[in-house]
Protein backbone atom coordinates (compact mmCIF):
# COMPACT_ATOMS: atom_id res chain seq x y z
CA UNK A 1 0.00 0.00 0.00
CA UNK A 2 1.32 3.41 -0.92
CA UNK A 3 2.42 5.53 1.97
CA UNK A 4 1.90 8.83 0.20
CA UNK A 5 -0.98 10.60 -1.46
CA UNK A 6 -0.62 13.52 -3.82
CA UNK A 7 -3.41 16.06 -4.23
CA UNK A 8 -2.46 18.33 -7.11
CA UNK A 9 -3.87 21.84 -6.82
CA UNK A 10 -5.96 21.56 -9.98
CA UNK A 11 -7.68 18.39 -8.79
CA UNK A 12 -9.28 20.09 -5.79
CA UNK A 13 -12.98 20.81 -5.58
CA UNK A 14 -13.96 24.33 -6.57
CA UNK A 15 -16.91 26.53 -5.72
CA UNK A 16 -17.30 30.08 -7.00
CA UNK A 17 -20.11 31.86 -5.20
CA UNK A 18 -19.11 35.29 -6.46
CA UNK A 19 -18.30 36.72 -3.06
CA UNK A 20 -16.47 33.51 -2.11
CA UNK A 21 -14.09 31.54 -4.28
CA UNK A 22 -13.11 28.34 -2.53
CA UNK A 23 -10.93 25.36 -3.38
CA UNK A 24 -11.50 22.23 -1.34
CA UNK A 25 -8.69 19.72 -0.86
CA UNK A 26 -11.20 17.37 0.77
CA UNK A 27 -14.93 16.80 0.22
CA UNK A 28 -16.88 19.79 1.46
CA UNK A 29 -20.36 21.21 0.89
CA UNK A 30 -21.34 20.39 -2.70
CA UNK A 31 -17.92 18.95 -3.57
CA UNK A 32 -18.13 15.23 -2.92
CA UNK A 33 -15.33 12.84 -3.75
CA UNK A 34 -15.38 9.64 -1.68
CA UNK A 35 -11.63 9.27 -2.30
CA UNK A 36 -11.06 12.68 -0.72
CA UNK A 37 -12.82 12.55 2.62
CA UNK A 38 -9.96 13.19 5.04
CA UNK A 39 -6.34 12.56 5.88
CA UNK A 40 -6.58 11.03 9.34
CA UNK A 41 -8.04 13.65 11.64
CA UNK A 42 -7.60 16.34 8.98
CA UNK A 43 -11.09 16.67 7.48
CA UNK A 44 -11.23 20.08 5.78
CA UNK A 45 -8.63 22.17 4.01
CA UNK A 46 -10.33 25.03 2.21
CA UNK A 47 -8.44 27.71 0.35
CA UNK A 48 -10.84 30.66 0.49
CA UNK A 49 -10.89 34.04 -1.22
CA UNK A 50 -13.52 36.44 0.17
CA UNK A 51 -14.51 39.62 -1.67
CA UNK A 52 -14.29 42.99 0.08
CA UNK A 53 -16.99 43.57 2.67
CA UNK A 54 -18.49 40.11 2.18
CA UNK A 55 -18.37 37.00 4.30
CA UNK A 56 -20.01 34.09 6.04
CA UNK A 57 -23.17 34.94 7.98
CA UNK A 58 -23.69 33.47 11.43
CA UNK A 59 -23.76 29.68 11.29
CA UNK A 60 -23.11 26.85 13.72
CA UNK A 61 -20.32 24.36 14.26
CA UNK A 62 -19.76 21.63 16.80
CA UNK A 63 -17.22 18.95 17.67
CA UNK A 64 -14.60 20.27 15.28
CA UNK A 65 -11.31 22.05 15.80
CA UNK A 66 -11.42 24.90 13.29
CA UNK A 67 -8.28 26.78 12.35
CA UNK A 68 -8.21 29.90 10.20
CA UNK A 69 -4.92 31.13 8.78
CA UNK A 70 -5.27 34.48 7.00
CA UNK A 71 -2.80 34.76 4.13
CA UNK A 72 -3.80 38.20 2.88
CA UNK A 73 -6.10 40.87 4.28
CA UNK A 74 -8.12 40.37 7.44
CA UNK A 75 -11.30 38.72 8.75
CA UNK A 76 -13.75 40.11 11.26
CA UNK A 77 -14.87 37.31 13.55
CA UNK A 78 -17.99 37.44 15.74
CA UNK A 79 -19.32 34.57 17.83
CA UNK A 80 -21.90 33.80 20.48
CA UNK A 81 -19.13 33.38 23.04
CA UNK A 82 -18.88 37.17 23.04
CA UNK A 83 -15.86 37.58 20.79
CA UNK A 84 -15.66 40.32 18.18
CA UNK A 85 -12.14 40.44 16.81
CA UNK A 86 -10.18 41.01 13.64
CA UNK A 87 -7.72 38.36 12.51
CA UNK A 88 -5.12 39.41 9.98
CA UNK A 89 -2.26 37.81 8.13
CA UNK A 90 0.34 36.79 10.70
CA UNK A 91 -2.30 35.68 13.18
CA UNK A 92 -3.84 32.25 13.76
CA UNK A 93 -7.43 31.68 14.86
CA UNK A 94 -8.53 28.46 16.57
CA UNK A 95 -12.06 27.53 17.60
CA UNK A 96 -12.72 24.41 19.60
CA UNK A 97 -16.39 24.14 18.76
CA UNK A 98 -17.29 21.25 21.12
CA UNK A 99 -20.90 21.49 22.26
CA UNK A 100 -21.62 24.23 19.73
CA UNK A 101 -20.67 27.71 18.55
CA UNK A 102 -22.35 30.18 16.20
CA UNK A 103 -20.00 32.54 14.39
CA UNK A 104 -19.67 34.82 11.39
CA UNK A 105 -16.52 35.65 9.43
CA UNK A 106 -16.43 38.73 7.22
CA UNK A 107 -13.74 40.34 5.18
CA UNK A 108 -12.74 43.19 7.49
CA UNK A 109 -12.12 45.54 4.57
CA UNK A 110 -14.64 46.77 2.01
CA UNK A 111 -12.05 47.31 -0.71
CA UNK A 112 -9.55 44.49 -0.26
CA UNK A 113 -9.68 40.77 -0.93
CA UNK A 114 -9.15 38.42 2.02
CA UNK A 115 -7.43 35.11 1.45
CA UNK A 116 -7.29 32.48 4.13
CA UNK A 117 -6.97 28.78 4.80
CA UNK A 118 -9.83 27.20 6.70
CA UNK A 119 -8.82 23.89 8.26
CA UNK A 120 -11.00 21.53 10.28
CA UNK A 121 -9.74 18.67 12.44
CA UNK A 122 -11.72 15.98 14.18
CA UNK A 123 -11.13 16.58 17.91
CA UNK A 124 -9.61 14.10 20.34
CA UNK A 125 -12.37 14.90 22.85
CA UNK A 126 -16.08 15.20 22.12
CA UNK A 127 -18.39 17.83 23.58
CA UNK A 128 -15.77 20.15 25.09
CA UNK A 129 -16.73 23.62 26.28
CA UNK A 130 -16.36 25.86 23.22
CA UNK A 131 -13.37 28.18 23.15
CA UNK A 132 -11.93 30.80 20.84
CA UNK A 133 -8.26 31.64 20.65
CA UNK A 134 -6.25 33.95 18.48
CA UNK A 135 -2.49 34.29 18.48
CA UNK A 136 -0.14 36.65 16.73
CA UNK A 137 2.82 34.99 15.10
CA UNK A 138 6.01 36.80 14.13
CA UNK A 139 6.24 36.00 10.44
CA UNK A 140 9.93 36.94 10.38
CA UNK A 141 10.63 33.95 12.59
CA UNK A 142 9.65 31.50 9.85
CA UNK A 143 12.35 32.64 7.43
CA UNK A 144 14.22 29.53 6.30
CA UNK A 145 12.85 27.48 9.16
CA UNK A 146 9.64 25.75 10.19
CA UNK A 147 7.87 27.86 12.79
CA UNK A 148 5.39 26.15 15.11
CA UNK A 149 1.93 27.68 14.98
CA UNK A 150 -0.20 25.14 16.85
CA UNK A 151 0.33 22.16 19.12
CA UNK A 152 -1.66 20.13 21.67
CA UNK A 153 0.36 21.80 24.45
CA UNK A 154 -1.40 24.72 26.16
CA UNK A 155 2.01 26.11 27.07
CA UNK A 156 3.61 25.42 23.71
CA UNK A 157 4.71 27.87 21.05
CA UNK A 158 1.78 29.39 19.13
CA UNK A 159 -1.70 28.29 20.13
CA UNK A 160 -3.22 24.91 21.00
CA UNK A 161 -6.16 22.67 20.22
CA UNK A 162 -7.91 19.45 21.25
CA UNK A 163 -5.98 17.11 18.98
CA UNK A 164 -2.51 15.57 18.92
CA UNK A 165 -1.66 17.77 15.97
CA UNK A 166 1.14 20.21 15.23
CA UNK A 167 1.11 22.95 12.59
CA UNK A 168 4.28 24.55 11.26
CA UNK A 169 4.86 27.11 8.53
CA UNK A 170 8.08 28.18 6.85
CA UNK A 171 9.11 30.63 4.14
CA UNK A 172 12.30 29.63 2.38
CA UNK A 173 14.86 31.01 0.00
CA UNK A 174 15.53 28.97 -3.11
CA UNK A 175 17.82 26.03 -2.42
CA UNK A 176 17.42 26.08 1.36
CA UNK A 177 16.78 22.66 2.89
CA UNK A 178 15.41 21.59 6.23
CA UNK A 179 14.11 18.44 7.86
CA UNK A 180 10.94 17.63 9.74
CA UNK A 181 10.49 14.81 12.23
CA UNK A 182 6.99 13.66 13.11
CA UNK A 183 6.06 14.69 16.65
CA UNK A 184 4.11 11.64 17.69
CA UNK A 185 4.49 7.99 16.78
CA UNK A 186 1.63 6.94 14.54
CA UNK A 187 0.99 10.41 13.20
CA UNK A 188 1.12 11.20 9.51
CA UNK A 189 2.14 14.46 7.89
CA UNK A 190 0.16 16.51 5.41
CA UNK A 191 2.09 19.19 3.52
CA UNK A 192 0.40 22.05 1.71
CA UNK A 193 2.37 24.43 -0.47
CA UNK A 194 1.14 27.98 0.03
CA UNK A 195 3.41 29.46 -2.60
CA UNK A 196 6.35 28.47 -4.78
CA UNK A 197 7.56 24.92 -5.06
CA UNK A 198 9.33 22.35 -2.91
CA UNK A 199 10.93 18.97 -3.09
CA UNK A 200 9.74 16.68 -0.29
CA UNK A 201 11.84 13.51 -0.18
CA UNK A 202 12.20 13.90 -3.94
CA UNK A 203 8.52 14.58 -4.66
CA UNK A 204 8.09 17.96 -6.33
CA UNK A 205 5.16 20.02 -5.08
CA UNK A 206 3.90 23.27 -6.53
CA UNK A 207 1.64 26.06 -5.29
CA UNK A 208 -1.48 24.72 -3.51
CA UNK A 209 -0.48 21.09 -3.99
CA UNK A 210 -1.08 18.82 -1.00
CA UNK A 211 0.92 15.75 -0.09
CA UNK A 212 0.08 13.26 2.64
CA UNK A 213 2.61 10.85 4.08
CA UNK A 214 1.39 8.06 6.34
CA UNK A 215 4.79 6.82 7.53
CA UNK A 216 6.80 10.00 7.50
CA UNK A 217 9.99 9.32 9.45
CA UNK A 218 12.31 12.26 8.78
CA UNK A 219 11.20 14.46 5.90
CA UNK A 220 13.75 16.22 3.74
CA UNK A 221 12.36 19.50 2.48
CA UNK A 222 14.04 21.74 -0.11
CA UNK A 223 12.66 24.99 -1.51
CA UNK A 224 12.85 25.14 -5.29
CA UNK A 225 11.88 28.82 -5.60
CA UNK A 226 12.48 32.08 -3.79
CA UNK A 227 10.05 32.84 -0.94
CA UNK A 228 8.47 29.41 -1.18
CA UNK A 229 6.02 28.94 1.67
CA UNK A 230 4.92 25.63 3.18
CA UNK A 231 2.39 24.48 5.78
CA UNK A 232 3.16 21.23 7.58
CA UNK A 233 0.35 19.48 9.47
CA UNK A 234 1.42 16.64 11.77
CA UNK A 235 -1.79 14.74 12.41
CA UNK A 236 -3.16 11.49 13.89
CA UNK A 237 -4.03 9.13 11.09
CA UNK A 238 -7.17 7.87 12.75
CA UNK A 239 -9.67 10.21 14.29
Amino acid sequence: MANTILHKADTRGHADHGWLDSHHTFSFANYYNPERMQFGALRVLNDDVVAGGRGFDSHPHDNMEIISIPLEGALEHKDNLGNTVITEAGEIQVMSTGTGVFHSEYNAYADKTARFLQIWLFPNQLNVTPRYDQTKINIADRKNTLQQLISPDKNGEGTWLYQDAWFHMGRFDKGISTTYNVKKTGNGVYLFVISGSFSIDGQELNTRDGYGITDPGQLNITALEENAELLVIDIPLFS
Binding site: F28, M37, H59, P60, D62, T97, N127
Partner: protein, 103 residues
Protein backbone atom coordinates in the same frame (compact mmCIF):
# COMPACT_ATOMS: atom_id res chain seq x y z
CA UNK B 1 -28.38 8.83 -4.91
CA UNK B 2 -31.75 7.48 -6.07
CA UNK B 3 -34.95 9.50 -5.81
CA UNK B 4 -36.41 7.48 -2.93
CA UNK B 5 -36.95 9.69 0.08
CA UNK B 6 -34.30 9.40 2.76
CA UNK B 7 -35.54 9.59 6.35
CA UNK B 8 -33.02 10.98 8.79
CA UNK B 9 -33.22 11.26 12.56
CA UNK B 10 -30.75 13.61 14.26
CA UNK B 11 -30.15 13.68 18.01
CA UNK B 12 -28.23 16.51 19.64
CA UNK B 13 -28.33 18.55 22.82
CA UNK B 14 -27.77 22.02 21.36
CA UNK B 15 -31.31 23.20 20.58
CA UNK B 16 -30.18 26.13 18.41
CA UNK B 17 -27.98 23.90 16.28
CA UNK B 18 -30.72 21.30 16.00
CA UNK B 19 -33.04 24.01 14.68
CA UNK B 20 -30.51 24.68 11.91
CA UNK B 21 -30.13 20.94 11.33
CA UNK B 22 -33.91 20.59 11.01
CA UNK B 23 -33.86 23.09 8.15
CA UNK B 24 -30.81 21.54 6.47
CA UNK B 25 -32.17 18.01 6.69
CA UNK B 26 -35.39 19.06 4.99
CA UNK B 27 -33.82 21.17 2.25
CA UNK B 28 -32.97 18.48 -0.36
CA UNK B 29 -36.11 17.31 -2.11
CA UNK B 30 -35.57 13.66 -1.28
CA UNK B 31 -34.58 14.12 2.37
CA UNK B 32 -36.96 14.17 5.30
CA UNK B 33 -35.39 15.01 8.62
CA UNK B 34 -36.47 15.04 12.23
CA UNK B 35 -34.33 16.52 14.99
CA UNK B 36 -34.69 15.87 18.71
CA UNK B 37 -32.71 16.96 21.75
CA UNK B 38 -33.31 14.03 24.11
CA UNK B 39 -32.71 10.30 23.94
CA UNK B 40 -36.28 9.68 25.06
CA UNK B 41 -37.67 11.66 22.15
CA UNK B 42 -35.32 9.82 19.79
CA UNK B 43 -36.41 6.40 21.02
CA UNK B 44 -40.06 7.37 20.76
CA UNK B 45 -39.62 8.74 17.24
CA UNK B 46 -37.74 5.63 16.19
CA UNK B 47 -40.62 3.45 17.37
CA UNK B 48 -43.18 5.54 15.50
CA UNK B 49 -41.41 6.24 12.20
CA UNK B 50 -39.11 4.46 9.80
CA UNK B 51 -35.65 5.98 9.42
CA UNK B 52 -32.72 5.19 7.13
CA UNK B 53 -30.03 7.12 9.00
CA UNK B 54 -29.57 8.30 12.58
CA UNK B 55 -27.10 11.12 13.18
CA UNK B 56 -25.64 11.55 16.66
CA UNK B 57 -24.73 15.19 17.15
CA UNK B 58 -22.97 17.31 19.75
CA UNK B 59 -23.76 16.59 23.38
CA UNK B 60 -24.43 12.90 22.87
CA UNK B 61 -21.76 11.13 24.93
CA UNK B 62 -19.85 8.06 23.74
CA UNK B 63 -21.73 5.99 26.34
CA UNK B 64 -25.08 7.24 25.05
CA UNK B 65 -23.87 6.62 21.50
CA UNK B 66 -23.22 2.96 22.34
CA UNK B 67 -26.60 2.53 24.04
CA UNK B 68 -28.54 4.28 21.29
CA UNK B 69 -26.71 2.45 18.52
CA UNK B 70 -27.43 -0.91 20.15
CA UNK B 71 -31.11 -0.03 20.49
CA UNK B 72 -31.52 1.22 16.94
CA UNK B 73 -29.65 -1.63 15.28
CA UNK B 74 -31.57 -4.17 17.32
CA UNK B 75 -34.83 -2.68 16.07
CA UNK B 76 -33.58 -2.22 12.52
CA UNK B 77 -30.40 -4.08 11.50
CA UNK B 78 -30.20 -2.02 8.28
CA UNK B 79 -30.16 1.33 10.03
CA UNK B 80 -27.10 3.53 9.60
CA UNK B 81 -26.08 5.18 12.86
CA UNK B 82 -23.36 7.77 12.46
CA UNK B 83 -21.68 10.43 14.54
CA UNK B 84 -22.25 13.82 12.90
CA UNK B 85 -19.47 16.38 13.12
CA UNK B 86 -19.55 20.05 12.34
CA UNK B 87 -23.03 21.21 13.27
CA UNK B 88 -24.47 20.95 9.79
CA UNK B 89 -22.11 23.37 8.14
CA UNK B 90 -20.10 21.96 5.29
CA UNK B 91 -20.00 18.26 6.08
CA UNK B 92 -23.61 17.08 6.39
CA UNK B 93 -24.25 16.21 2.76
CA UNK B 94 -20.88 14.52 2.40
CA UNK B 95 -21.36 12.46 5.53
CA UNK B 96 -24.73 11.19 4.38
CA UNK B 97 -23.64 10.40 0.83
CA UNK B 98 -20.56 8.58 2.10
CA UNK B 99 -22.57 6.62 4.69
CA UNK B 100 -25.04 5.49 2.04
CA UNK B 101 -22.29 4.38 -0.30
CA UNK B 102 -20.39 2.52 2.44
CA UNK B 103 -23.27 1.02 4.41
Amino acid sequence: MDTQQLHILAIGRNAEIMTVMQRLLNTPENWKGLTVTTNEAALAAFDQESFDIVLLCAGVTPEEEATLTAHFTQRNPDIIVKRHFGGGSGLLKNEILYALEHR
